[in-house]
Structures are given as structure tokens and as C-alpha cells.
């Protein structure tokens, strides 16, 4: 296992400190024993592409809090171990964090597959737990000290694909059939279940409905079978390596579909945006943030501006639109709850989290009885007008327009999806 203080992240601390306003630095320095905040983080393995930006953002938050005088007058210290993107590592990490390192607070690493294995350890020790990008984790545990920083709400199996299906049904002419393709993983099974249920309710005929295993190498048979089923719209759930394979295959097989996309995790990572370039045009992708004027909250842009130069030095995700705002929010929830309670009492913190609406860089956040967001905020975006593989176009409004929900809408749906042809 590796601590977050591995090579380079120390430099992040210095860089972050430099960027903190002078007025903040002028505040009194924190003193006493540090408040230790522990968690696992995927710094290697398949989830590291998003785990490393999350770890970096936690460090930025800690440096800013310390520069502002700390938490309860004490400095904060992040203790993090690399879970290698493996859920099997996670229970041991949290056992060590709580029993050996004696951390005061615990937060999760990135994504459902890492959060769920931490739950039994956290629950046994009655810790309040703020998670990051966990979908439906608490639906089975029903732990009253779990709080999820994820926009999919408490019933993703029913609501996740709502935006996608509403976009499909608003098309003219109305679609009559849908194909559903998803990776055989917990998150994508939930998303597919939602699409299946909502499609049937909307009167769409499901003409193809298959999951693929994570070991899939060639995606052309999947795309070809989808084409043979002749759907009007295609809902796809995939992770980064598969997303690249699916979109490459779609390009090679000259797909022409009225609507294509879904929770295709991949273009969220800057390197994949740049690699795919025009193949992204008209692809509809579930997301949590896009640099559109309709989705700006106080603090969003300043955070991204602080993150990007540090990320460039660290060689991690360059744009930081996907994970950093959510990871920063995770820590803001913790920070504001501790300030409100005035202590580190786990029960009091949980009670405060249930009662409070938090003011964060992704807007106001509150939690329902299960620790999920009462109103889902799944955003469906569409890439438009992507030319070549340059990075600057992705920083501008209008390249990844928001189609859903209506209150954040910044553009109109373009069709069909032709994979760059």
C-alpha cells in the first residue's frame, strides 16, 4: 500500500498553498493535534484515472483549510492508501485507518466498487461516512451515517436513465425501439435496469438487451448485432477501455442512429476526449458537470482554475471537470458538518448532515434518510462541433452542451450519431 504522500503530491501542497489568497493565509495558523481524515484511493489500477484527480483534490482542500486556520482550530491531515482499484484491498485499509492510524473521520475512495467493501468496517465502528460517486451503495446496508456525493439519488434503478429516455421521446419522429448494451458491473447494471424499465413505460420496444464481460477485447460483434436489431436509439453503459472500443467499432461500422449514448464513462477523462476527437460528435453522455454557463456555482470555476496547473505538474487528468468538483464537495460536506457540530462526535455529525443543506462548489447539497440526494441531478450532455484532437475546444462552452435537466439546458439535441463520419 502507498500513502497519498507519494512522489509529487508534496509539490501539490506547495502549489495549492501558493494559490490560496493572501487574506486566507493571514488567518491564524492551526495548532494542536491534527484532525486525521482517512480513506482509500485508487492511485493505480483501472480506476486510477479518476482516483488520482480525487486524491489531488482532497489534498488541495486540506491545504486550503489549513491555510484558513484549520478545522476547529486544528490542522487537518489526509491519510490515504492506494487500494489499487481493488475492492479486496478496501476492508483492510479502513481497518488500519480506524484501528491503527486512529483517524478521526473517514471518507470513501472513488466509485461504487470501492465504497461498498468499506461499508461493513465503517458500520461496525459507527463512523460517519461520506462517499464519492457511489451508486445505490446504501440501498442494501441502510446505514444511517452514510452520505453520498453522487447525483443519482436514492433510486437509480428507476431514475438513472430518465433524462436519456425523455430526450429520446422528445425527438421527432418519436423513436419506437431501443437497444441496451452495458458492462457487466454493479453501476451499469443499475443504469441498464433503469433504461429498461423507463423505456417500457414510454412504449419503446427493447430490441437488443445484452451485457458484456469486462474481458471483452473486440466490440465490433456487439455494435454489429445492435445494428442488425435496427433500434432507433441505443443506451450504452461502459467504462473507459470499453468506451473507446465501442466508439471505435461504431466508427468502423458506420453507425447511423438517432440517439446513441448513456453512462459511457470515458470522455470524462481528458485523455480519452482528446483521443476520440470528432468521434464524440453528437454522442449523448451522462455526466455531472460541463463547462457551460448554465451550470456554474460559486466556487466551481475557481476550483478548476486551482486544480488544472497542479494536475499539469502531476500528470493527472488535465481538465478536471468530472471528479474534482465532486471530490471537493465531499470534503466540503465534512468540513461544514464539523464546523456546525463543533466536535468530531460521529453521531452528531451524522445528525447534522441529515439536517443541513450544504453550500458547495456544485451548488446546494442535502441528503435524504438514506444519505442520497433527495432530487437526482443526472445530467445528460452532448458533444457538438468537436474538430481535431485539441484540448482548448473542450474548455469552451458549446462543445459539451447540456441537454437535460431543463434548468441547466444549454443547447439542443443534434442527431443522428454517426461516430465522426
Amino acid at each position: 500500500m502507498e500513502g497519498l504522500s507519494r512522489r509529487g503530491l508534496g509539490r501539490a501542497a506547495v502549489a495549492a498553498a501558493i494559490t490560496v489568497p493572501a487574506t486566507a493565509r493571514a488567518q491564524s495558523a492551526p495548532s494542536g493535534e491534527p484532525i486525521k481524515i482517512g480513506g482509500s484511493m485508487s492511485l493505480s489500477g483501472g480506476l486510477a484515472g479518476n482516483g488520482r484527480p480525487a486524491g489531488l483534490t482532497h489534498k488541495i482542500w486540506a491545504d486550503e483549510v489549513n491555510a484558513r486556520g484549520g478545522l476547529l482550530g486544528r490542522p487537518v491531515q489526509i491519510i490515504s492508501y492506494d487500494d489499487q482499484s481493488s475492492g479486496a484491498q478496501v476492508p483492510g485499509i479502513y481497518t488500519k485507518l480506524i484501528d491503527v492510524d486512529k483517524v478521526d473521520l473517514v471518507v470513501s475512495g472513488y466509485a461504487t466498487a470501492i465504497i461498498a467493501p468499506a461499508m461493513p468496517v465503517v458500520m461496525q465502528r459507527n463512523r460517519t461516512f461520506v462517499s464519492l460517486f457511489g451508486t445505490g451503495v446504501n440501498s442494501e446496508f441502510k446505514y444511517d451515517r452514510y452520505f453520498s456525493v453522487n447525483p443519482s439519488g436514492s433510486n437509480p434503478n428507476q431514475t438513472f436513465a430518465k433524462g436519456f429516455i425523455e430526450l429520446a421521446m422528445a425527438m421527432d419522429p418519436k423513436p419506437r425501439s431501443i437497444a441496451i448494451v452495458n458492462l457487466d458491473s454493479d453501476f451499469h447494471q443499475r443504469a441498464a435496469e433503469s433504461a429498461r424499465s423507463l423505456a417500457r413505460s414510454a412504449g419503446l420496444r427493447v430490441v437488443y438487451d445484452r451485457a458484456y464481460p469486462p474481458t471483452t477485447v473486440d466490440f465490433s460483434p456487439i455494435i454489429r448485432a445492435v445494428q442488425a436489431a435496427r433500434p432507433d436509439v441505443v443506451f450504452v453503459g461502459s467504462y473507459p477501455p470499453d468506451t473507446a472500443g465501442l466508439l471505435r467499432a461504431a466508427s468502423e461500422l458506420r453507425v447511423n442512429l438517432q440517439l446513441f449514448g448513456g453512462p459511457m464513462i470515458g470522455p470524462h477523462i481528458t485523455a480519452q476526449k482528446l483521443q476520440l476527437g470528432p468521434i464524440l460528435n453528437n454522442l449523448v453522455v451522462w455526466d455531472v458537470y460541463a463547462p457551460e454557463p448554465t451550470l456554474q456555482f460559486p466556487g466551481t470555476q475557481p476550483l478548476i482554475e486551482r486544480y488544472q496547473p497542479i494536475a499539469a505538474k502531476e500528470g493527472t487528468d488535465a481538465l478536471g471537470y468530472y471528479v474534482p468538483p465532486m471530490a471537493y464537495t465531499q470534503m466540503q460536506v465534512l468540513e461544514q458538518a464539523v464546523k456546525k457540530v463543533g466536535s468530531l462526535d460521529q453521531g452528531a455529525l451524522a445528525k447534522a448532515m441529515h439536517e443541513t443543506t450544504f453550500d458547495t462548489v456544485i451548488g446546494p447539497v442535502r441528503f435524504d434518510a438514506t444519505g442520497e440526494w433527495p432530487e437526482p441531478r443526472d445530467i445528460y450532455t452532448q458533444y457538438q462541433g468537436v474538430q481535431g484532437n485539441g484540448i482548448d475546444q473542450f474548455k469552451k462552452a458549446g462543445t459539451q452542451v447540456i441537454l437535460y435537466p431543463a434548468q441547466y439546458k444549454s443547447g439542443e439535441l443534434r442527431k443522428p450519431y454517426t461516430a465522426g463520419a
Binding site: R7, S42, L43, S44, G45, G46, A48, G49, G51, R52, S85, D184, R210, A211, Y212, P213, P214, T215, T216, V217, D218, S220, P221, I222, R224, A225, A228, P240, P241, A244, G245, R248, A249, S251, E252, L253, R254, I269, A271, Q272, Q275, G315, T316, D317, G420
Partner: protein, 293 residues
């Protein structure tokens, strides 16, 4: 053309192209595992090492990824030879190669993966060949060059390797060491030197396979995991020491996977492909081209 027939033909053709990638990945293992009896479970990790280096050099130079992988082969040969020296000294020479040798290569695999994460990073890396976005059409049959070119390069490399093994003195010695290493000594040939040379070749083939892999898909340090089961199955199905058997098994594996994915869904692909392996071994325990002991 009937849509089902078009689906079937495309499934077969895309399976053959996928088989080309599998053949590239398995050919080196056919030498180390099939001929030298070295259970190199790190072979796919060497392939990923090659792929990551190709991606890095492609980013710096823009040279075609497959050309870069060919340029990497001498360095990988030297790396393979050095690893064999260590393996022979610490395990094979003492007769500990079975379990401890396997543990050694497990260790090598983890060292490569962690080394790649620390040195290059955990993110995915890619190399876009100039032809990667082109697809040839033969009627209703699609031939994406992203799959076709790596497959052709792999077949050429394997063909060249087969000619070397069949027609050169050293190549025959490599084939002989698989059968009777003591007999080689009677011909005044050092079997350890021959095995060192052959193991270097197997790792050089992994570099070439890495070039093919990074043309087909983005890679990260752990990308080799999904190939471990497949490449060993292919080598066993092919008959261990037969390169042509390895190619035939790779093609069969690719076709079975893709035709199954086309008609019955991708979830069934691995089960059917490995079921086919069991069937082949039940009917022909020595594999396609293996000799009965």
C-alpha cells in the same frame, strides 16, 4: 445478403482479425511455455510493457506503432535473455522451476505492472496509427485496418519465426531443446545458451504483440490480465510447441468468441471459447498439432 448471413460472415472475419491479435500475444508464449517448459505467466505483462513503451515513443516521434514495436524487439530480446539467466541460475538449475519458477514469474508480472504505474502512470495510453480510422469494405464484409494491419504483421512475424525454427541450425536446436536437452549436449550445443536465446525471442515477440495491442485498443498497466487465460488456453489448444497450432487455435478462439457475441451475446463468449478448449482437449489431448508423448 440475408442479414443473419452477413452477421455470421462478419463475425467470422472479425474473429479471424481478433485471432491475429491473440496469435501475436500467444506466439511468444508458445516458445517459452510450449518449447522451453518455462511457465512465463508474465508474458502478457511484457506485451503491455511493449505497448506502453510504443505509446510513449509514438507520442514523442509519431512513428507508426508497429514499426516502433519492431524497433523495440532487440531490447526486449536482451531483456528476455537476462531474465532467463536469472531464472536458470536461481530455479531451473536447481530443479525448482515448477512452483518456485511460477512464483518468480508472478513476481516479475507484478514488478512490471507496478513499475509501469510508477514510471508512466496508471492512466490509459494510446497510439493512433495513421490507418486506424480506415475500414475497407468487401461487399457487406468490413475490414477495419485497426484490426487487419496488426493481424497481418503478426502473421508475417510468426511466419518468419516458423521459417527460422524450421530451417536454421539454431532454430532446429531450439525445437530440439524442447524434446531432449541432453541430446543437444552430444552435439556440443549448450542447451542453456539455446534456451536463453529462445526465451529472448519469446519476449521480443511480446514487444511485437504490444505494438499490435496498442493499435487495437488503449492500454494501461493492468491490461495484460485479460490475456493471461486466453494465451495459455491458445498455446495448450494449439499443441504447446507448435507455432502453426498456436495460430490455428488463436484464430479459432477469435472466431468462436465473436460469432458467439454476435448471435448469443458477449457474456457467453468466454464460456463458449473455453468450452471449445475443453472439447478439443477431450477429443485430442495433445492439442491441434501436438505430438503424443
Amino acid at each position: 445478403m440475408d442479414p443473419d448471413l452477413a452477421l455470421l460472415l462478419n463475425g467470422i472475419v472479425s474473429g479471424l482479425l481478433l485471432g491475429g491479435l491473440y496469435a501475436a500475444a500467444a506466439a511468444g508464449l508458445s516458445i517459452s511455455f510450449g518449447m522451453l517448459d518455462v511457465v512465463n505467466i508474465a508474458h502478457p505483462a511484457f506485451m503491455v510493457l511493449g505497448a506502453m513503451l510504443v505509446a510513449l515513443f509514438w507520442g514523442a516521434t509519431g512513428i507508426d506503432p508497429l514499426v516502433l514495436s519492431i524497433l523495440l524487439t532487440p531490447a526486449f530480446w536482451a531483456l528476455g535473455a537476462a531474465i532467463y539467466v536469472a531464472y536458470h541460475h536461481f530455479f531451473e538449475r536447481r530443479g525448482d522451476e515448477a512452483i518456485q519458477g511460477l512464483a518468480f514469474f508472478f513476481g516479475v508480472m507484478f514488478i512490471i505492472e507496478i513499475g509501469l504505474v510508477l514510471a508512466i502512470g496508471p492512466e490509459q495510453h494510446f497510439a493512433d496509427a495513421s490507418y486506424a480510422n480506415t475500414t475497407w469494405r468487401l461487399g457487406e464484409i468490413d475490414l477495419p485496418l485497426r484490426m487487419l494491419v496488426p493481424a497481418l504483421v503478426a502473421f508475417l512475424a510468426i511466419g518468419g519465426l516458423a521459417l527460422f525454427l524450421r530451417h536454421s541450425f539454431t532454430g532446429r536446436a531450439i525445437a530440439a531443446v524442447a524434446q531432449d536437452r541432453e541430446a543437444l549436449r552430444l552435439l556440443a550445443i549448450d542447451p542453456v545458451r539455446i534456451k536463453r536465446l529462445a526465451f529472448g525471442i519469446s519476449i521480443a515477440m511480446a514487444a511485437l504483440a504490444g505494438g499490435a495491442l496498442v493499435v487495437v485498443q488503449p492500454v494501461d498497466a493492468g491490461s495484460g490480465h485479460i490475456f493471461i487465460g486466453r494465451v495459455f488456453a491458445i498455446v495448450i489448444m494449439g499443441g504447446l510447441s507448435s507455432l502453426w497450432g498456436c495460430v490455428l487455435a488463436a484464430l479459432a478462439f477469435g472466431v468462436v468468441e465473436n460469432v458467439t457475441a454476435s448471435f448469443y451475446g458477449p457474456s457467453w463468449s468466454p464460456a463458449v471459447a473455453f468450452g471449445a478448449l475443453l472439447l478439443v482437449l477431450a477429443v485430442r489431448p495433445q492439442g491441434f498439432f501436438g505430438r503424443v508423448a
